[in-house]
């Protein structure tokens, strides 16, 4: 269970949000909404531990994440605006390395299945990522979700640059993750097609 207590954050000289207290329980998705520049990305990065908050605490299973450090990082998966994949490597190589570095199953068949689950056909698996389209690159980045066994996911605008088919795949994956007791924090502009009792909304304002 993830909890924030009176969290406030700023970027440079600009105060983004203050006194945000929210709880994300197992099996729920927190959808963070707000206008452009309202601090959604910073909020997610603060929750991951990449950015320091101005004030407040973040608790994972009741313990402060800044004390848990590596123990907390072992529980989370973050996919931000940047894809986190190498253009010179093929999708299979990228995903195998990501899985290896996350301690997940990185065997050939599992990786291929994950790529197919995001809708990338076999011939695409062995092309260098730089020749793929933006949407395809995004799918490669998101394919890590099919290999991950970590409970807490942070996704920054995951549906951006995805077509209808990929959006469906991702939504189904989110649904199965939530059914297994996982938690998701998503920043998004659009509605997510999930049962309303598992979705929480947070609007970021000053």
């Amino acid at each position: 269970m993830l909890q924030t207590v009176a969290l406030s954050g700023s970027r440079g000289q600009r105060q983004l949000f203050s006194d945000v207290s929210v709880t994300v329980r197992p099996g729920t998705l927190l959808a963070v909404a707000g206008a452009n520049g309202s601090g959604k990305t910073s909020f997610l990065r603060i929750l991951c531990g990449l950015l320091s908050p101005d004030g407040g605490t973040i608790l994972w299973q009741g313990k402060d994440i800044h004390q848990l450090k590596e123990l907390y990082r072992a529980q989370l998966m973050y996919i931000g605006h940047l894809n986190g994949i190498k253009d010179e490597l093929t999708p299979i190589e990228n995903l195998t390395l990501s899985a290896c570095l996350a301690g997940d199953d990185s065997s050939g068949t599992t990786v291929q299945k994950a790529l197919e689950a995001v809708g990338l056909s076999r011939p695409v698996h062995v092309l260098p990522t730089r020749v793929l389209s933006q949407g395809q690159k995004r799918r490669v980045a998101l394919a890590r979700l099919w290999l991950s066994t970590r409970p807490l996911w942070f996704l920054d605008e995951p549906f951006a640059s995805l077509d209808a088919a990929a959006t469906t795949y991702l939504t189904q994956r989110l649904q199965s993750h939530l059914s297994n007791g996982g938690m998701v924090v998503v920043s998004t502009h659009q509605e997510i097609a999930l049962p309303s009792d598992s979705v929480q909304h947070l609007g970021l304002t000053q």
Partner: protein, 227 residues
Amino acid sequence: MSQPSLSEALCGVVRRDLLLAMRHRSDVAMSIFFVVIVASLFPLGVGPEAAVLRMIGPGVLWVTALLACLLSLGRLFTADYLDGVLEQTALIPQSLAVLVIGKVFAHWVISGLPVVLLSPLLGLQFGLGGDSLGVLTLSLLLGTPTLSMIGGIGAALTLGLRGSGLLVALLVLPLFVPVLIFGAGAVTSSMAGIGSEANLSLLGACFMLSLAFAPWATAVALRIALE
């Protein structure tokens, strides 16, 4: 919950960088050609007199290796920073300092090791003889990883800044100076017959010191840059 072991994470990081280098074999070639060309500039500029070349040889070769390291520092973290791989690396549940050692090691294998292997040939170009060539190679073997580790701090501090190429040089060259002095000094003292043990042990001490502190400082600097 899944967590890679420290050695798994380290190997993964090294493997990725070496794999990328294999796709860009020109990077390795560039280091080699740079060193060869710059080392050749000195005889052309100073004149071919053998005694003069033998005297300036150790210093010239060391400065050339230093410049090669400096110019390749841009490749250490920048690409990872720009495509988001660096923030993923920072989120790996292991010590970032150890992962930095992995990255620096891979970087050294690509840009530093070729210089070390080439150094006997370059030494011959400057008229260095038997023993001194061995000392030259050994000093570079100890010194170039140290330069890469110290350079990593500068690269991390200036990540994503405009004009970072020049700025890295300015920040890192003062810290390179002791390594340069001991490294070139080892070869010079060997040529003078004094024996290079003192300089080489100091060089070794620099290596140990940088191994102990530089990765940690680099990790701190990387987290600052990722904020």
